[in-house]
Amino acid sequence: MTGLEGKLHFNQKIQFITLSFDGVIIDTDNNLFSWPKNTSIYDAHPFFEIIKGFLENDAITQNEYSFPCIHIEEDNLERICDVSIKIDLKEIVVLLFDYTQKYNELNQIAQQKNESILKSRELQLKNEYLLEKENFKNNFIANINHEIRTPLTGIIGFTEVLEKTKLSFEQEELVRIIKRESNHLGSLIEDMVDISKIEAGQLNIINERFLFLDIVKGFKETYNRIAEEKGIDFEIIVDPNIQEYIIGDKTRVHQILNNVLNNAFKFTDEGKITFSITKNYQRTNKVSINFKITDTGIGILNKDLDEIFKRFTRVEHAKNRPGTGLGLAIVKNLVDTLHGEIKLISEPDKGSTFSINLPFQFDILKTSIPKIKKKKKYKLPSTKKKFKILLVDDEEVNQYLVMKILINHGSFYVDVAISGEQAINYIEKRFYDLVLMDLKLGVMDGYKATHIIRNHYGDKQIADVPIIGFTAKATEIEREKCLKSGMDDFISKPFEQEDLLQKIAKNIQKKTTV
């Protein structure tokens, strides 16, 4: 027995054990664990096998070992103890100090500290992994772009060639579809390439000086037509205070606005789309311009507002509309790249407003460069979606050509009459917005037919229909003859597509404003 026994016996937190040299428990107070006397300590817990080692290795000399923080279990009970082992010449004394509570408190601190370190590493790894994947993908897409575009350019090119060959109506329709779909595929690829380039940081900003209104011009033509087709209104309002020439990345600005306009048109089935451009402010050579696109479309739920600029996001009620969902993600990325900002205000079923601020520069000294002679402008009145045109011509090639121009334009319905008689017949039955009259017809020529239309009908809708004559010769005499017979205008063959459209628009416009 050790001298310690008397002092420690009553301390519930300490257990003493005396052992024989072969590990048998000679005596213990069972304060902590109820290991019976005369059993082997080695069977009590594997920790104690350490003692075997001490006995094996060295010649037994007096020695004391202490082990802090040892987990010792008995059945389902675990205590965390500091253990002291004392070997002397007669016996082995083991002391167990139960510090479970103290260690458990420490445990919580260590747990928190270690856990937060492991967590942060975990997050870091995840980010690295995602970044790597993302970069790989973006580079891949940006690089494969060429590989995909080359064959697609071939397809589109040859479709255009095919389009110009002699085709049946059915074939023509099919070619049109191929062309439309290839163009669509092309723009999808462009979108994808753009977004991956932006995200892979490969997009270069190219600033150039350009005529500001050029940006608007293209939109006017494209979207007026779509608006007419969809039966909605489209208005562009430009702040006259904006510099004529500004400096910026024209292509990207165009792309941003085009995507937003596209989006607005896609989601608006009735009402109006307004595109207004105003100057926010200007300082020295910098100007901030606001582009606002307001629609009366299906709108976006509040909860989806943040989602809308993410890639491939199609919010629930937009699911049945065509598109990849890339458009607005590109917009957001491009606006960021150009150091601009974009805001979206929207209400379901009321519509959305995209407000984009973009910074530009301008030359303080240079005001304008000489203008290139502008093409004559034509504009159809916005009162109607489509205009009805009667084409009077007996020549098949001419019919085909005129029809193609007018139908492609998208704003016209075209009827064809092959004689003066037939023309009058049609005009009596249907009201036309304009008549295109060939002068050299069979029995009743163009002059005669015009004369009848002008003079034999009390109905102003018939009598006053604008008539444009087709002549083979562009002479002054020919012109006189046309106007005398009551025609409003004349156009000589061969004509340019733009001239024909411009004359048609001018005369329809004149008529509606009278």
């Binding site: 817990h45 594997p46 920790f47 096998e49 350490i50 075997k52 080692g53 001490f54 290795n57 070992y65 202490s66 082990f67 802090p68 923080c69 040892i70 987990h71 965390i80 260690y103 420490l106 445990n107 260590a110 747990q111 270690n114 856990e115 370190i117 492991l118 590493r121 790894l125």
Partner: protein, 163 residues
């Protein structure tokens, strides 16, 4: 013949010492991290092909940032050290060579094994390349999670310890 050998798991915290220990002893694994305080000790009896029964007493220590801070008494009477590092955390193997040298110097008779754990989280090819580049030696790459190479490792160690 019955033998008893003491094996100590060493290495930074969180590298998977406890997980390898649990995998080997109870064939269990948990994603939950529970810090080990001090040391827990368990025994597993391994039946070797040679007929020898080896009772492996494994000390799963709390780990250390610096090997010198490992409680000396935990290492007493050891037959083998298993130095575990985490393949996803460079800081757990950056000092490996110095640590091994330290152990060899102070415990010349003890077998030392090096394990890179959490193999399931990395590409084996990439990590081997990297370890080679950094001159990090290892005996075995394991995953306590998927049980890859764990029992093989312990069985080979058992063989080694009976030689």
């Amino acid at each position: 013949m019955k033998l008893s050998k003491k094996v100590v798991l060493l290495g930074h915290f969180g590298v998977g010492k406890t997980s390898l220990f649990r995998r080997f002893i109870d064939d269990a694994f948990s994603e939950d991290y529970k810090v080990t305080l001090g040391v827990q000790i368990k025994k597993k009896v391994i039946q070797l092909p040679s007929g020898i029964e080896l009772s492996m007493v494994i000390w799963d220590t709390e780990g250390h940032q610096e090997i010198e801070n490992t409680r000396k008494s935990y290492l007493l009477g050891s037959h083998a050290f298993i130095y575990v590092f985490d393949l996803t955390r460079k800081d757990t193997y950056i000092n490996l060579n110095a640590d091994i040298a330290y152990l060899k110097q102070h415990h010349p008779k003890v077998h030392i094994r090096i394990i890179g754990n959490k193999l399931d989280k990395v590409s084996e090819r990439e990590i081997k390349k990297e370890l080679k580049q950094e001159s990090i030696p290892f005996d075995c790459l394991t995953s306590a999670k998927t049980n890859k190479n764990v029992s093989t490792f312990f069985n080979e160690l058992a063989e080694e310890l009976t030689k």
